[in-house]
Symmetry: D2
Subunit: 337 residues, 4 copies
């Protein structure tokens, strides 16, 4: 950590900062230039203590040198994390394919889609029972009944099930029904929710917030890990930019960046990322060769009748064609490494 | 609402869309151009039903004509909403000044700051008991004990108290202790929390999300209002942009925009909005003449020792000087109207 | 085009708008709802005339139905454009690989790199002679001498050469030396420059502006095409967002979006797009399977001695390995279609 | 400047970096921590030399300590710059009010508006003769004839005239006709144009680019100053964000930020900044109390007939009312200092 002194610094100011740091049991290195003075802090200083330094009048700014996350940091955990869900694995070379409708609508719908995506090679069934909707007047999901229908689909197909948890009040129900808890983009910094799922051992898919930096995203993972749960799968789902031809801007460079900084697996959701079914296949294929550990794809047997997000869902038939390409690509990709 | 047909549309496609809309009990207007056809929908169509239309292959896109929020919409409620808190009012020409530290740290600290900001003319005391922190290793607040200290400060000064609620589990404690519940930027789309505070009659400060459009913000207010609570104060606190010289970009144009579209009062937080104490006074004054209904200012008696956000807190002395200017400005501003 | 009337519209207002439109020789369709009235305009109305409508007090807003670009629009030109440069082609299934240093530094440097990238399979040599630099104190390029060195490298290798034109004053020199003129991101809306290159028949690479929407980018292509030059290659090179782990956010979804809306070829520059050499290979591979028509890659024989952008340049050896993978990928990709 | 070494650094690596820096005639300070090593550079290192360091494999990153602009930097020039234009001044407590239409349309139009804005207290007349338009099919301005009409309006009223220069080819004509050359947002990084106006002594209004940081903006001013022209007025005109209720997001915090970092005057254009005439007055007043040195306001005698940007222009009558308020505000503001 580096403290940059104000241009009007005096020797007293330097002594004051150095004393403050030494009082915390840390060492310093002072470098005086002609119009600037810089003080290096050696060792681990906590965030609160840093903020106090930056509030001193004689300090211009503070520059970080190390990443603020530890458990999620590849530096301290060089091996890829592999998350196990029932008999499937995600991470460390294992590709996890999650498919299903945006929202669970009926037993017939969810079971039919589950069968079809399983036939095409999916390992996980996604389906929203509780839906976060921008408008209070939109369809909010079938709620607990939706979870029951997911379980029926699981019983029929053996697919592991993934659903979004929006409220700590339903955590117990989710523990008993789903195989993976999804935390949505809007709740990426709902720290109460992160802490509660962190106290379980249930695998968690943590979606990137709409305008979260990768550092903030890894810090949200750190919140879950600090509470005890290390079974985390990151999910890139597009960030907010000024572009309007796509719903969000899918940040595929997040894949190699996360791989560099963290050991956690990362999957990609091109359905929310682009918002248009016609762009899902090309972005899925791109994500695979960019090195992701899986995909989350919206599949609906009747997109134009879907109760939500129909315009970004592909059909089971389109999914099947895409999966064939993905298998070939991912084989080639493995050979190229 | 306008449906724009795909360029390859057929008469059958038009009939299909028109039939779908008429089956919902609504009327249509069809306009055929040379290469485009547009269908107007007259009346109120729900969001789910719209999504189905946009998923039809023959439809290129849908354009909204009306705002999606109703209770928060000035169109249906032309008079300014005035929120009453104990003996103070915010909105409709009443300026509410909220001041205090980012975090409650001790009885001595909160009571001293409370006395000073009251002397300078503040009506409300802010103070964080539960702190949303990006890192799990930062100071998380004094929690329930913080609320108790706020109550002591209230007993000493009579100031109404404002504190941030992050978890529905603490709603009962907040109902019994604070005068205004603050929903932070990170929780602006935590719909579970919005719905729960919506079921109370406690005044709510709803901060704008870091990358939320004004429309999304008003829709979050609508979530609270739809649940029954109309005592909402909006708070602009800066949005995320590419600029790095400020912590966020304070969007003061949100003030006249909100005034046009909604009847709800809007206040401004220049401390988080800029992230630097030296910019707080100029942005506060600008917000006043732009027409805001109040300010939320971080004041700390010892910023360099503050446990959080010291660099953006002003001292009680700086606050006092600023309040004198604000009184003059706000008098002039009233005369100019 | 759709005109949405203000909620307080009168019949006179409608007549006024309708008359204005009819006077331009166009037809209208009026749809009156309970609290809104919408007027459709059939036929082609110019942008200036539209702006006048939106300034009328009785008009709330205007919604576009058709894309504002015509020559660049796939709607009116369904076949892929193929740009021919000497013996190479870009677009319509032909992949163009452009490689070379950020800046030309010396004859030895540019000739050595040219030989190496040619051996690995590149068709084009890039090299900056005139460099747009944020700071006036940075290295500005070898200027005209740089172009001469590029010609030497062309004579040695036969590679077509690509260099950035920043000023109309040098257009003649560029016409006589380079095979493709590059317009950089900062000049994407330098309309004087666009118009001048539009009057030539030289192939142009048009980079996307740092914060340009795809629509604005296609409109800049339209400026060149409207002046007479249709040999345009679009180049996605990352957009500005809040993310800091990458220099820009590479928007790979721009590939299928451009393919849908335009017939022009699109290539990708992952070197500027990510800003880090270690992310270049994965993003290049992703761009290929996403359907791009080529790549522009910074290659330097000694990145740590490069006079600019060394941190994002790969070595000839890394480029060679990547090209082998790209050939395999692109074969597979062709088979998958 | 701080060099952060890679975690796998060796003593050899340190020696290599230190030697490189010392060879440039600069001194270093090495601070070794447990898992990190940091090297401070004392003195002024050029940007190219820095880039070479950051490309070394053993270096993780480089952190800047000093601002990269010098002539524009308040650190080296503490007094406010005052720009003199004929008999008017902008900066150092002198408010410059610039008003007029987006585009010059006719002699009658420009002379009438000039008279009216002069009567209300404007010092400068703005008017576009050459218009940068996103679409090549929009009205491009009256070009040289527009400049002649501006001169007629100047002869009638004595107002100094301001017009946008888009091409170096017209620099001579501008030198002979306008009093202030405006560089538009799209050309903020057109370095060829900056350098050419830098070689004159004509006052320049430099608009902030649509997505430029304040640092980049000051560096563009530095380009002009480095070429010899120090008569620069910065103009904040809104930045691009995700918000859609306003055309751009007007960044009023840029005023105190620029005042802190630079001695150059800064004015505000709320017409482009918000894109809606109804928000111009409140944002103008806010800009004044935030400390700006002037305003640039679009005024049109017949906004609904304007050939461009009618929806953001106010009428001469609205301008007159606003100017009365601004005089009162600015008097109060002076007294408050």
């Amino acid at each position: 950590m580096i403290v940059v002194m104000d241009k009007n610094y005096t020797s007293d100011n330097i002594n004051q900062v150095v004393k403050y740091i030494k009082d915390k049991g840390l060492e310093t290195n002072v470098s005086k230039g002609k119009s600037k003075c810089v003080i290096g802090i050696l060792g681990n200083i906590s965030v609160e203590n840093l903020e106090k330094i930056s509030a001193m009048k004689c300090v211009e700014k503070i520059s970080k040198v190390q990443e603020p996350y530890k458990k999620a940091n590849r530096l301290f955990h060089p091996e890829d994390t592999v998350v196990n869900v029932n008999n499937s694995k995600i991470g460390g070379g294992n590709l996890g394919i999650i498919a299903g409708p945006c929202a669970v609508e009926s037993e017939e719908q969810i079971v039919e889609i589950a069968r079809q995506v399983k036939d095409s090679g999916a390992d996980f069934l996604r389906g929203g029972a509780f839906k976060p909707r921008t408008s209070p007047y939109s369809f909010q999901g079938l709620e607990l009944n939706g979870l029951k229908l997911m379980q029926i689909a699981k019983a029929e197909t053996g697919l592991a099930i993934v659903s979004e948890l929006m409220s700590v009040s339903y955590l117990d129900e989710f523990m008993n029904t789903v195989d993976v808890i999804q935390i949505g983009a809007r709740n990426m910094q709902n720290y109460d929710l992160l802490k509660q799922v962190g106290r379980t051992n249930k695998p968690v898919i943590l979606k990137r917030g709409l305008s979260s930096t990768i550092e903030e995203w890894l810090l949200s993972a750190e919140h879950i890990m600090a509470a005890g749960n290390e079974n985390i799968i990151l999910c890139e789902r597009g960030i907010r930019t000024f572009e309007t031809y796509t719903r969000n801007t899918l940040d595929l460079s997040a894949i190699p960046v996360v791989k560099k900084h963290s050991h956690l697996p990362i999957i990609v959701d091109p359905s929310h990322g682009t918002g248009h079914s016609q762009y899902v296949e090309s972005m899925s294929m791109a994500a695979i060769v960019a090195g992701c550990d899986g995909l989350m794809i919206e599949v609906h047997n009747n997109p134009k009748q879907a109760l939500s997000d129909g315009q970004q869902s592909i059909t089971p038939n389109e999914f099947d064609k895409m999966m064939k390409k993905i298998k070939l690509l991912s084989e080639l990709d493995r050979n190229l490494k």
